[in-house]
Symmetry: D2
Subunit: 336 residues, 4 copies
């Protein structure tokens, strides 16, 4: 299968390289990026076996040989490219989120449905071995009925203030992964969101209208409760853990570590911290999500993270944003 | 020092035995309980070296030889006995909570202050080695400024429905320990409480007007955020863990286990669950709190869990109860 | 039951205190020690409820009221007191080892057998929760047939050179516990011992004719193999772990730690070291062994660590000593 | 750099694929194997970007364009190909062991030295993140002077009896990795070896003249002691752990696990076993060793596992074999 990639930023290059290394059934024919430069071109052609590069996304969208498109461009272009790709009859893998505007998300999903193409959203954490391990146990019924979900998600460093100003806020750009994870683990839909937040790390984040420390509590249709905590700065690394408590048990995971070495000296017993870089933490997850997308397209299977899975977390982010602003619980219905 | 105990239920007997074994500077002269029976009398006299037993608390309160009183009777009698003991000039160790009625709590605290006697409240978890270890690291400054506190507190089995009906609810009878722990770890006072709850374990608990699964998010004066989750039934045992996240690191603890044995067979790698009985989990904490009380009285030191430490968690429980009922965040000021 | 203790050194006082606290069916009537002083007398009478103290062991051995004797004196007196106590018809708990001279060990065991009294040897580690947990799993059959046993046993600090000179060497005074543990876990008898040793910690130990680092490999009748490693100085604390590998799995334990606290800062993730003091590490084991001895006497049950269990490790120590000296494997038969 | 591979069995194919994926500076021009078939050819050309395949190793050795050769053929051909490749002026990566015949090993090393080509031996475990992590800490001096090394190395399943008959025995085909690891971690050379072994898993292994359970104790020049234990069958998976104990501390590692998920149900707390397949356990190590070899050749650096590193473990295996046969410690000098 021939595929194209729109967007040659970090995530686009990661997908290109992973496909070259680990997805033999896919050939990347074309990568399009308005800012394509020589270095990127060389990397894509040499390391990723990409046949050609271009500055025009149209070269991907109009190419009849290309069956599937990976949309790795900036968020504001996602819905447009989904619609264009769907009209061109191409299967679509789109980075999260589809858009911050719920109307645009609905439009993009509808376009893919109308065209009958597959649409997978890049919630890579669903494919992480540790999170998937928790999911598998929840699905197996080993912990019975889900009562509580706890998700910790903390980044090593805050993004730049410039990014904070345009990102839509911590609920849209950071906690959105956790909103997806909560739905994934609960097997039920969220009905109400209550957000709390503080500016504890950098006052400039507060001046930009955002918080850097956030806690969200959510109620599900089945009365389970989820708790998510986010921090923009965990000095010890990328901290991502989940715990699901149920009627028959509790399952949780720990972060990965670079090695399992344990040192005991006269002072203490110690081991290495988790990873400080997202790409190291989720190396395998990025591979797995693309392998599953390729498998879905080549073998005509359902994608496991579809358009609606892209929609709900945006609704949850909208509700959380409203809740934080108004200091009260907000029902999902209020933001639909 | 001679001491008396009012109340010979489970906790009264535990204190009596611990004093006999581990607190050489204290002699229990008298234990009073209206339901004193032969079996209890035998246990107290033989195993705990108690000199005499009685059905009348007055025998303790009026005994001039007795310098300190442990109030281990039912909650509704706590404030009365505190006031009586204070008037009699005796130092007081009182089981938590002082009362559910804030006015009575204030009255009891005032009585102890007026009398100039020591008043320690039985928040034993502050003395647990694992929680104390977290506290010590927070206090040492190793994690910098506190940003978030997470407390999981889950019991192995729900109490009887009869108890649920009179206990005041999950916030007063169970989460009150966690309210205390949150203040202990934060080093700051709570300003706002938002409660969530569900009935997921036993519908009879719901019919009795309570929830069996509860999540509370709290804001502190210093903008730190605490999250507490409670469940009435964790099938794997008494699950009590805390985590404190700060600007310079994160400290957490795990449950104790009966042994450190790890078995790997063809199927999995496994170890023992935590304890299923509170008395096994907090064995050492019950000893330590009484040792500290004895030390405070004998050597005229401040107690570390004083009357005001008994007051605040009751305010927090009141705010949580109101929040759950009204479906909105409640400020502590509203319930003062 | 009334009991007496011969020897009021550290271990004698520990037993006296544990009996006072945790063994209600035993009263210590008399403690005898030629170096009895006021401080020890006060401790024994006040804290341990001991009725009387004496400098003469005969006051214990001749007292018809005393049913059981704990022999906690120096090793060179063990066999003599066992024989005397046996002749006096008293049940005996004797600290390990019975003696370094195999003939004396046999004589002592024979005396107890002839007198029909119980004889328990103080191999306390068999009663430790972590080692017992491994034993229980081995006995349960969960790991199938035992193939290999690995025991690490390292002390925080070497003993004094004066002690090293008279202790009989590392195999008799330190590894003897591990010889017992190996038999306990294997459920089979050792047939051959091969010892290795080095002087790596303190050359004075070498000059005293001993090694400070020792490794012993042993073959059992059932062809299983045991490996023991000893070091006189582990800077991180008292390190005592066992692992049993079998046809159906592997079971091991870890050291206990003072608390379960885990700290992650910008540098590393760390926790507390194990205990640095034997009495902290084996607190519960010392209680359990005495409780079991009391139970055996009071309820006429077999002791679980009998005289023969005291004999075999001494044979193993003799074989290890010979092996190290001669640089070759030594069969147990050679030293019998 | 263009390279060739001699031998297209499992390990040859793994190296080919890893080079295609992760070693951009190397192109595999030719893979030679007398049993080359269509399936292998397709895999090599399609997945590994290999330019051509052949049944004749000479096509690799005579190709002047090829600068480096990976020798992945059967052990009995290693020394011959090393000599041929050295004469052809090609840098050499050779799978372990060079040969079981010490004379041939010496000859091969001499040939590479004479030709001035690099010779790296495939002791991949040195490149494993967990073992390397232990090594790094030992090298850093954090544990002071090395006193003891403990290595556990257990396979999930015994090899076929046909293989056992020709493999040279457990010391040559399995423990050889651990002999290398012991030297790697000790930073000192072994002077004496004492081997023990039993047939506990399959009597057919005994009938073939080998043991399936083996323990070796070794003395180093610096008086440190190493203990290695091997089992042909650990039902719970590929178990490979090391521990180094020193004057200032102790460092050890644990096995990798597929995920960090922990499940607590009413019965126990459990997690996944380690890997059951070597290729899963050492995925990264195989990549790293080839990356380092490529780096050494391309940038003219020393290889870290050279010919002499290939020689010593074979001497240790010879000594262990002799020791087991003769039931006595054997000095390395005896087998040189």
């Amino acid at each position: 299968m021939k595929a194209g990639i729109i967007g040659a930023g970090r995530i686009g290059r990661v997908h290109a390289q992973n496909i070259a290394r680990f997805v033999p059934e896919v050939d990347i024919k074309t990568v399009a990026d308005p800012y394509m430069n020589e270095e990127t071109e060389k990397f894509l052609k040499t390391t990723c076996n990409v046949a050609q590069v271009t500055k025009d996304a149209g070269d991907v969208l109009k190419d009849v040989e290309i069956e599937a498109v990976l949309i790795c461009s900036s968020t504001d272009t996602h819905s447009k490219y989904i619609i264009d790709a769907a009209k061109a009859g191409k299967h679509i893998f789109c980075e999260k989120p589809i858009d911050y505007d719920l109307a645009k998300v609905h439009e993009a999903i509808a376009a893919a449905e109308t065209a009958g193409v597959k649409l997978q959203i890049g919630f890579c954490r669903r494919f992480d071995h540790n999170h998937r391990g928790v999911y598998d146990i929840v699905k197996s019924g080993k912990i019975g009925k889900v009562h509580m979900i706890k998700i910790s998600s903390r980044d090593p460093e805050p993004p730049s203030i410039d990014y904070v100003k345009v990102s839509g806020g911590i609920f849209y750009d950071m906690m959105i992964h956790d909103f997806d994870m909560a739905r994934f683990l609960a097997g039920s839909e969220v009905t109400e969101v209550m957000a709390n937040g503080s500016v504890l790390i950098d006052s400039a984040i507060g001046e930009a209208g955002d918080v850097d420390t956030a806690v969200v509590v959510m109620k599900f249709e089945n009365d389970a409760i989820a708790i998510i905590d986010n921090s923009r700065k965990a000095v010890y690394g990328y901290d991502q853990r989940v715990e699901v408590f149920g009627s028959e048990g509790c399952v949780k995971n720990e972060n990965d570590v670079p090695n399992t070495v344990i040192l005991s000296d006269a002072d203490k017993t110690s081991c290495e911290n988790t990873y400080k870089i997202m790409w190291d933490r989720y190396t395998q997850a990025f591979v797995s999500e693309i392998q599953e997308f390729a498998d879905a397209v080549v073998n005509d299977k359902d994608v496991s993270v579809n358009g609606m899975d892209g929609l709900y977390p945006v609704e949850m982010a909208a509700a959380a944003t409203k809740s934080l602003k108004e200091g009260r619980p907000v029902k999902i219905e209020e933001v639909k």
